[in-house]
């Protein structure tokens, strides 16, 4: 195999016997708008066709990233996700349609990308990515896009890309804020240089708990696709060593300088981590002592129903936001948003049992931990939140 360096940041080995990709008449017509730009041209379009990008996560970010990379003519796109399309996805995951609900995401996405551009190859990985399979999957790609929604996978992708020397295009979102960067070990910082450790589970709400403006992943995902194209084409200035922050509310873009950590355990001159680890344990998402405590301090929706039917003297505290209270509530509950809990403690009768709920049980678990530490030991979390209560006990309560 002859090693061919391409200008830009991607090094690739050409398969012996072949040269750069060539194009049909259809492709020349299709990519016309690319071909007439000096920064792309036939040479650049060939690089796109020869390139391979793995998109990990086919959701809010994965949807726009994969659509734009397919449209641009990236020759091989890998899609990795194990989930099925859900109705709540359609508010932002624009690669799916209503009839797709219930189908496997990677299958639907693959069909959609090939319909958009039949001249490319799309590999569908209907799996979770983990320490056992990550290196094997990633090694076949030039660029990896982090379009995931959880910390363990983000750290896994980071470490795998450092070990395999692949650029990782990072994107993350929350409500109206987004972040984009390119982590490329050897050329700039990696994710661990920026965030050596994740927050403890439950502290940072997920999109399901915190919400997200549907178009925000469209903006951030498009920026990720932009970075992938720049890397492949070798043009512009990739976001290596820079973190782009997007505030969709004020529509401000701001750039922070981020630096390599000389003591980084993974990408520094003297790494202490040289193999993939147990990321669930690293992020504390594996069942731990703390999680077991949380489980002990929980009650199920059925148990709550029984308490209410038995006429027990309980206080039902709703720690969600007023906008959520407007959508639905459990009869008899009192609203004290989480941020106001410590200043409104006097509103809770310490002699009665307290049941706390939120949407899915994350914020209320935090609230119960707080209240118990403050001495209210007769306090319990409603496991699964009002969502589980609506699903299992009272279907007249709208789910969102």
């Amino acid at each position: 195999m002859k090693k061919r360096g391409v200008s830009g940041l991607i090094q690739r080995q050409a398969v012996s016997g072949s040269s750069y990709a060539s194009f049909t008449m259809d492709e020349i017509r299709r990519y016309g708008r690319h071909l007439i730009m000096p920064e792309v041209g036939l040479e650049g379009q060939r690089r796109l066709k020869d390139a391979s990008v793995l998109v990990v996560g086919v959701g809010g970010l994965g949807a726009p990233v994969s659509l734009y990379l397919a449209a641009a003519g990236v020759g091989k796109i890998g899609l990795l996700d194990f989930d099925e399309v859900d109705e709540t996805n359609l508010q932002r995951q624009v690669i799916f349609s209503t009839p797709d609900v219930g189908r496997k995401k990677v299958e639907v996405a693959r069909e959609r990308l090939l319909k958009l551009n039949p001249h490319i190859e799309v590999m569908a990985y209907e799996t979770l990515i983990n320490s056992e399979n990550a290196l094997d999957i990633i090694k076949d790609y030039d660029v990896v896009v982090d379009a995931t929604d959880n910390f363990p996978t983000r750290y896994l992708l980071n470490d795998a890309c450092v070990f395999l020397k692949k650029p990782l295009i990072y994107g993350s979102i929350f409500r109206f804020d987004g972040q984009v960067s390119v982590f490329y070990a050897g050329k700039g910082p990696c994710y661990r240089c920026l965030y050596p450790e994740p927050p403890p589970p439950g502290l940072v709400p997920s999109c399901a708990e915190g919400g997200v403006l549907g178009v925000l992943p469209g903006i951030i995902g498009s920026l990720q696709a932009n970075e992938a194209l720049k890397l492949i084409l070798g043009i512009g200035e990739p976001l290596i060593g820079r973190l782009l922050l997007v505030d969709a509310l004020s529509i401000t873009f701001r750039e922070l300088r981020i630096n390599r950590d000389k003591g980084c355990p993974v990408c520094s001159e003297n790494p202490t981590i040289k193999e993939l680890i147990d990321y669930e344990q690293f992020c504390g998402t594996r069942v731990s002592g703390e999680a077991l405590d949380a489980a002990r301090n929980s009650i199920t929706p059925l148990e709550l129903k029984r308490l209410l039917e038995a006429g027990e003297e309980i206080q039902l505290i709703d720690v969600r936001e007023p906008v959520e209270w407007e959508i639905c509530r459990i009869t008899g509950a009192k609203l004290i948003p989480l941020s106001q809990l410590t200043s409104r403690l006097h509103e809770i009768d310490q002699t009665r049992k307290v049941i706390v709920y939120c949407h899915s049980g994350q914020r209320s678990a935090l609230a119960v931990k707080l209240l118990r530490e403050l001495g209210l030991t007769n306090t319990y979390n409603l496991a699964g939140g009002i969502d589980a209560y609506a699903e299992q006990i009272d279907p007249t309560i709208p789910r969102y």
């Binding site: 979102i173 994740p198 502290l203 701001r254 750039e255 922070l256 300088r257």
Partner: protein
């Protein structure tokens, strides 16, 4: 020094949905302490039990990471903007 602390979306629930807070302080540490005075519930998010800044939170002054300056002892100037940047993982 009169400075502004910018609160990201992920933390606004802990600051009554305010996106920026003005405080008087000489150092970054003092500015954060003033923030905690006003919004105590943000304290356990930012600091661990040994009062150290948690490693999933980065602080920038006017776009420079305080780790490249003097950490929490970094001295402030009038109108400095302090950005609290916690790790966020959303992507779906």
């Amino acid at each position: 020094m009169r400075v502004v602390i910018q609160i990201p979306s992920a933390l606004r629930a802990l600051t009554g949905n305010t996106n920026q807070v003005e405080v008087n302080a000489e150092t970054v540490g003092e500015a954060l302490a003033a923030l905690l005075d006003r919004y105590p519930s943000i304290g356990r998010y930012l600091f661990d039990e040994n009062q150290r800044l948690r490693s999933f939170v980065n602080i920038f002054i006017n776009d420079q990471d305080i780790k490249t300056l003097n950490g929490l002892e970094t001295r402030l100037k009038d109108s400095d903007k302090i950005l609290i940047l916690p790790a966020i993982a959303g992507g779906f």
